[in-house]
């Protein structure tokens, strides 16, 4: 597909043009970068490493109303995702886009999740290649990803200095390029090669890695291994590692009813690192301590998911390592899995 060039001066215009859709882009709140719906193009903050909270919440909101009801009335007022309109998520990193492609498999597995899938259908993902890997703990290349990876993306922008190289990757991406045709120019000859070279250099700057070969097969046999106690001893059970993981997708469903009887059924992020996550109504908890919960987190990502869907549910974004308050490090855990007898 044809490569285009977007000069940096035109970025404001481009974001303005995209504001006719629901435009989601990285923005700064104090020093924290989060993806948010942008009203004014000025709010977008594109000179960032990676966001603290992944953009997954725009496909899978942290709290989502499924329907509203009145206690005592059989009528339900259902959510219509279509009303949210066409969305463009602008400037996300390749690992986060790939994470969405991985999570799609779950939401279209035994049951087609209407909310999630509709939203995905309405969303175009415009990625920003990592010319520089954003954190010391990036390890996407260990998981079939890459700082210039395109999986899950509809369009990829590469920062070439004064301008971005624009690559449309899907039909949605082509359509978006048409919408922006007055801002885009022909890309200089030789840029494709240059971008390939940059991609190789960026990959070379990734410094943490793990060989995942054999891990999914090995994990079930380590069920009672003492390593789980060791690696989870310091765990606070806080759930940061799952809430901020772009591939974690567990949810709970709760009803919220006001005094007047007006209620809503909503689903909300949940975390397997929480004690009450597997608590049965009987009072029994099959994952009674953080040892079992940590074991589940790793098994879910590196064994159950690949067994079911053929892909490891981790993209190596490094957030769970960067942000764990007690330095529990998934690469350290996986190293111990590899070494375990």
């Amino acid at each position: 597909m044809a490569l285009k060039k977007l000069s940096k001066e035109k970025m404001g215009e481009v974001l303005g043009e995209l504001s006719k859709f629901r435009l989601v882009a990285p923005a700064k709140s104090d020093e924290v970068v989060v993806f948010k719906q942008i009203g004014d193009p000025q709010e977008a903050f594109l000179d960032y490493g990676n966001s603290t909270v992944p953009p997954k919440k725009f496909a899978f909101p942290q709290t989502e109303t499924l329907f509203r009801f009145m206690v005592g009335s059989p009528e339900l007022k259902e959510k219509n995702v279509e009303e949210e309109g066409t969305t463009v998520i602008f400037g996300l990193r390749p690992c986060d886009a790939r994470a969405m492609a991985i999570v799609d498999k779950l939401f279209s597995w035994d049951f087609d999740d209407p909310y999630y899938l509709k939203r995905r259908e309405l969303t175009t993902l415009v990625g920003m290649a990592c010319v520089e890997p954003p954190s010391v703990n990036c390890f996407c290349t260990s998981l079939q990803g890459s700082p210039f990876g395109t999986e899950g993306l509809d369009m990829l922008l590469t920062d070439m200095g004064d301008y971005y190289l624009v690559q449309s990757l899907t039909e949605k991406g082509e359509k978006l390029a048409e919408t922006l045709s007055s801002q885009l120019e022909e890309a200089p000859a030789g840029d494709e090669k240059k971008a390939e070279e940059m991609a190789r250099e960026s990959e070379g700057r990734i410094r943490r890695s793990i060989s995942t070969a054999g891990i999914p097969e090995k994990l079930p046999g380590l069920w009672e291994n003492e390593l789980w106690k060791r690696v989870s001893a310091a765990c606070l059970g806080c759930g940061i590692c799952t809430f901020l993981c772009p591939t974690c997708h567990c949810f709970d469903i709760q009803d919220e009813v006001d005094e007047g009887g007006e209620g809503r059924r909503c689903r909300m992020w949940d975390s397997c690192m929480f004690e009450e996550y597997t608590l049965h109504a009987s009072g029994h908890n099959p994952r009674p301590t953080r040892r079992e919960r940590t074991r589940n987190r790793i098994n879910h990502k590196y064994s159950y998911y690949p067994n079911r869907f053929g892909v490891i549910a981790c993209v190596g974004c490094g957030r769970c390592i960067n942000l764990c308050p007690v330095n529990i490090d998934i690469l350290d855990i996986l190293d111990q899995v590899v070494d375990a007898q």
């Binding site: 909270v53 310091a234 606070l236 901020l244 308050p325 007690v326």
Partner: protein, 327 residues
Amino acid sequence: MVDVNKLREKAKEVVSRDDVRLLIGYRPGTYGFRARPAFVQGPDEADELIFTPACVNNLATYITLEEKLPVPRGQEPDLRKVAVMVKGCDSRALVQQMEEKAYDRDRILVLGIPCTGVVDMAKVEAKFPGVLQRGEIALEGDRFVLSFNGSKEEVPREELVADKCLRCRYPTPLVYDELLDEAVERFADDDYSDIAELEKRAAAEKWAYWEEKFSRCIRCYSCRNVCPMCYCEDCVLDRLQPQWMRRSVDISENTAYHVSRAYHLAGRCIQCGECQRVCPVDIPLMELNRKFYKDVEELYDYEPGTSVENPPLLSTFKVDDREDFIL
């Protein structure tokens, strides 16, 4: 700073005792300058222990965080002591837990570490971005010396030290069975100037300020889990029947969470700063905690976590307690 060999020797001696089942200390982290909690069960494991200005965690949390499974029929519960290494601020958590009778003093063995301040890891990582190889931080005089990748860098203490340490009144632990080094002098005091600034703002301005912060909260409850004073076995936040607080994330529920937590910590928070340190979205929780701390000090001349004999603030009443602020 405490000598690491002495620390390890002491740890070996402690974990070899018949009445001790576990020692909680620190060991090197997996990358960069980080340190992490260590759980030492035998003398051979004691050699991994360290104490450096990178040992930021408040280990007092683990005393109450420990998960205990029901003891199988016919077996006795393990009632041996847990040994724990504490800095000045961490020791205050133990004192406050004991004031509240969270457990018996006899259950724990406290190794006190007179503290010369810990680093704020965010400041370290901003100054030395991308340090992957394990590095070390030591305090030499008034400078931190950082060794990594075969080189050494010196940085003035004020540039990297955690904010809480710049106002620390109790660097030497207030409770211990053994002090591992010479006591250190208090090197600062708290004039609450930052809080006084916030207090001056108009209500609408305060609200705008907190609305922005609270709207970032993802309600992971990390600030609760890490807090040594958040040790209720049954937390209102986890209750579903009845549900005291909704799990949905919006500005109203988020605010309710933060206001409730701040009130639960009034007269109890011992200023270890852990809640703010762990927050992944940088919510300045210490501003709330410090406001309450300041009020409690000014109104009742009370500082939590400073004397095991002190009764908890909220369970006492004096006839001359001030009440002119009550509406």
